[in-house]
């Protein structure tokens, strides 16, 4: 890597420090995350602010002490490598066990347990340096061997980690290991594509030798099942587990509470909080509201739009939000009539008013989508010219496609998220004006996930991913398993392949603009909104910021007395 002082993010931070938008502690914290050494960061901070170097303990800091109480769901956390949903379970274990990289709320990925990395121009060889001086809670030093043990474990198909789905394309290959299924038929296994795919260069260097170029490796390493566990714990997490994080788990009861205590000697500097208590507030939205109202908790891991008005009315709470790439895509199977005609798909888009749908479905707590599934939350998002609702155009497109009297179709909608249903209902009303008559078929989420790649017209939840190209690669590349619409465009695939080989965000954005336009003109989706994820915290809470994947970091937070 170059001198980190030249890093554009460090320059932005320096500017913010000079304008007193952030304090020195924050500057040092983030500058070190970006790879700057702590000494250099403190020196630079002193130079900018005109203050001389001071030890961390004397620097302007978060208020010390106190126990932060967070409303969460206390699910089972025994196996971090196989977590299934992230926001609830990993938010407990991540206070204790940490990740190799850190993707912030703006989608920028920083070094973390990996101190820095290099990548070859072909984006196939990634060399990571292990951060020196990181100690486990039992006093052991973090080593390359321990990290490789974790990486190989999540890529072992017997473990059942969803990291496999993310990394299989560039790290694994199919192999016949002589395994058979229950009926005695030969069964393919997935193994590392090369014995050296994950290579130990030395005690503090790990190298990925990828099968194909991959730009998103650092982002993948922040995926919630990729927690770095101490190999002695054999993949099992619980009270007393060893970790490199700022806290230790001292008590845990499923469905009730998880209790964490600050650990001294944390490599990032001791946390300000004495401890964290996470309490199960259940699934009922009113229970969480009541818990906040009676100050049983300081904040919620995330809030739902139905809770917004009640929580916004409480004067002791502060609102936090961040744009995300979370959405429900109303996607059309391009091989099925009438969606096999691009004009019909365009008519479906032209008849919608995204701004109105955001207001109705999300109470305004989101952003209008542009029917291309790329969000302002993604670093490579490219703004295209606005396309306002045009009912006349929608009617004309339908007539040109041979449907002068409109069309009748059925939209399958999972009932998991209430706002997704409202989006569908509002869209149906808007489509009516263009002669698009849509019948909604509500399905329990569990049923929908059994048929989501099969139904001709479905409303599918897509959660936030740090890069737009990650979503494109999963959902719109020809022939991939999650391409639920069976969309296929050689031009799109070529552009995506190029974008995945470009590390610089600005250059990737240029390619992204072309892909977004292809989806707007020809794509298989009507996608009117992105939701903001948000929460409320007691005003005593300091240092908190909302993360688009609802991750909570105890080391960032302090509590005013």
């Amino acid at each position: 890597m170059n001198d980190m002082r030249d890093n554009p993010h460090v320059k932005v931070l320096a500017g913010e420090l000079a304008e007193k938008k952030i304090d020195r502690r924050e500057f040092v914290r983030f500058a070190t995350l970006l790879g700057l050494s702590a000494t250099t960061a403190y020196g630079l901070a002193g130079k900018i602010s005109g203050e001389s170097f001071a030890p961390k303990a004397q620097a302007q800091a978060l208020p010390k002490g106190g126990v932060f109480r967070l409303g969460n769901r206390i699910k089972e956390i025994k196996n971090p490598h196989t977590y299934s949903w992230g926001a609830y379970d990993s938010n407990m274990s991540r206070q204790v066990v940490e990740y190799l990289t850190f993707t912030d709320e703006k989608g920028v990925t920083h070094p973390y347990l990996f101190e820095k990395w290099d990548v070859t121009p072909d984006l196939k060889t990634w060399t990571f340096k292990v951060r020196p001086g990181v100690k486990w809670s039992n006093g052991d030093t973090l080593t390359a061997d321990q990290i490789i043990w974790n990486l190989k474990r999540v890529l072992d198909e017997d473990v059942g980690s969803s990291m496999l789905g993310l990394m299989a394309g560039y790290m694994l290959k199919d192999a016949d290991l002589g395994k058979k299924d229950d009926k005695g038929n030969p069964k393919k296994s997935q193994v590392l594509w090369d014995a050296n795919a994950i290579e130990k260069v030395d005690d503090s260097t790990v190298r990925f030798n990828c099968k194909v170029p991959q730009v998103a490796v650092p982002e993948h390493l922040f995926h919630y099942p990729m927690a770095i566990l101490h190999p002695d714990d054999k993949g099992v997490f619980g009270v007393g587990s060893k970790g490199t994080g700022a806290f230790e788990l001292v008590d845990f009861s499923v469905g009730k509470q998880a209790t964490f205590k600050r650990r001294n000697g944390y490599w990032g500097g001791d946390a300000a909080l004495d401890g964290i208590e996470m309490t199960d507030v259940g699934d009922d939205p009113s229970a969480a509201i009541a818990a906040l109202a009676s100050q049983q908790i300081h904040g919620l891991v995330f809030a739902d739009p139905v809770q917004y008005e009640a929580l916004a009315a409480m004067p002791h709470l502060q609102f936090y939000s961040v744009p995300t790439g979370e959405t429900q895509v109303m996607r059309m199977k391009v091989a099925e009539k009438p969606f096999d005609d691009a004009r019909v798909r365009n008519a479906m888009r032209a008849a919608l008013d995204p701004d109105a749908i955001v207001k109705v479905a999300l109470h305004g707590l989101g952003r209008a989508g542009e029917h291309h599934h790329s969000s302002v939350a993604h670093p490579e998002y490219a703004a295209l010219p606005k396309r306002p609702r045009d009912v006349a155009l929608a009617k004309k497109l339908l007539a040109d496609a041979g449907h002068p009297d409109g069309i009748d179709v059925e939209l399958n909608v999972p009932t998991d998220l209430p706002w997704g249903q409202v989006q569908a209902e509002t869209s149906v009303e808007q489509w009516k004006e263009a002669g698009i008559r849509v019948k909604i078929n509500l399905m329990p989420g569990a049923s929908y996930w059994d048929v989501w790649t099969k139904v001709p017209f479905g409303s599918t939840i897509w959660y936030h991913r740090p890069l737009g190209i990650m979503t494109y690669g999963l959902a719109y590349r020809t022939g991939v398993p999650w391409n639920e619409s069976s969309y296929s465009s050689k031009e799109f695939d070529d552009l995506l392949g190029q974008a995945e080989g470009v590390y610089e965000v600005d250059k990737r954005r240029e390619l992204m603009a072309k892909m977004e336009k292809i989806l707007q003109d020809d794509g298989p989706l009507a996608q009117p909104l992105f939701r903001d994820t948000f929460t409320f915290m007691d005003k005593k809470v300091q240092g908190f910021s909302m993360h688009p994947t609802n991750y909570f970091f105890g080391w960032k937070v302090g509590l005013q007395a």
Partner: protein, 337 residues
Amino acid sequence: MVAFVLKRLVGLALTLLAASFLVFVVTEFSPGNVARKTLGAYATPAQVDLLYQRLKLDDPLLVRYGRWLGVLTGILRDPLQDPDLKLDFRDPRGDRYFGNFGYSTLFKAPVNDVIWDRLKNTALLAGIAFAIIVPLSLVLGVLAGMREGSWIDRTISIFGIVTTSIPEFASGVFLFVIFGFWLGLVPGTSPLTTSAGWSIASQLLLPVLVLVLYDSGYVVRMVRGSMAEVMNKPYIRTAILKGLPHRAVVTRHAVRNAMIAPFTIILLQINFLISGVVVTETVFAYPGFGRMLLEASLSKDISLIEAATLIALTIAIVTQLLSDIGYALLNPQIRLS
């Protein structure tokens, strides 16, 4: 009496058997795949299929039911605890013992580690509520029924109708707004931890109050109806005409007879308070049996659903048995045979 009880116990066993099979069938035909639910949205189809096979969910329904029954009775070892399956299902009690309810895929723990603590929490809530509901309902019901049509009767009857007709989720919110939000006397949720400075007793107040209001209204109306009916009987008229004081008429002649019909209803409230408190437990985030059953059902956690169903059914049948016995003791004219 002994024959009657034995007969009922045999009936209990057969009912449990039939119910456990029905739960298997219903779960089989309800939507969703437990392997997908366990692994989440990011898992590949191959991973989902692999877990599905490891959980032996592709075996025929009858095979799975037979295996579950064998594991429960201790006849069979729990095959899911086989380390070769790499499911990491471990039960410190072993893989073969009577009462082995299996492994919860939702909580990733033996069902016996999950269920009893929650049942204890619900029993605490239900016990306190029951101890208040019974005397309160009896007193109000008798007061209302002994002078049918009086202002006391009308007041109590209206009270009963109003409290019964307000759903628990609504009364829970109303009561919290008054006593929690405005007056600050009680906390909004009941996680049964004291870390936020609220005592366990204070956390029980609102859930108990919601249950008492909702349930006592119904029981009051039953007692009142029975009491009013008894007060119109010829022997009560005779007692009044022979000059007995009103208090003596009520306490000596009316109350005991008026209790026969509501007795069954009162005992049936135990069932409601154990397995029907889903709403109250959810509204107050109370870590109880009802909420656990709801979550298990949403996750198709068959072992946990089966265990909870059997426990709820056992409680229902045992309380029914007790009510039959009590019925006979209250009214010797009834022969249990």
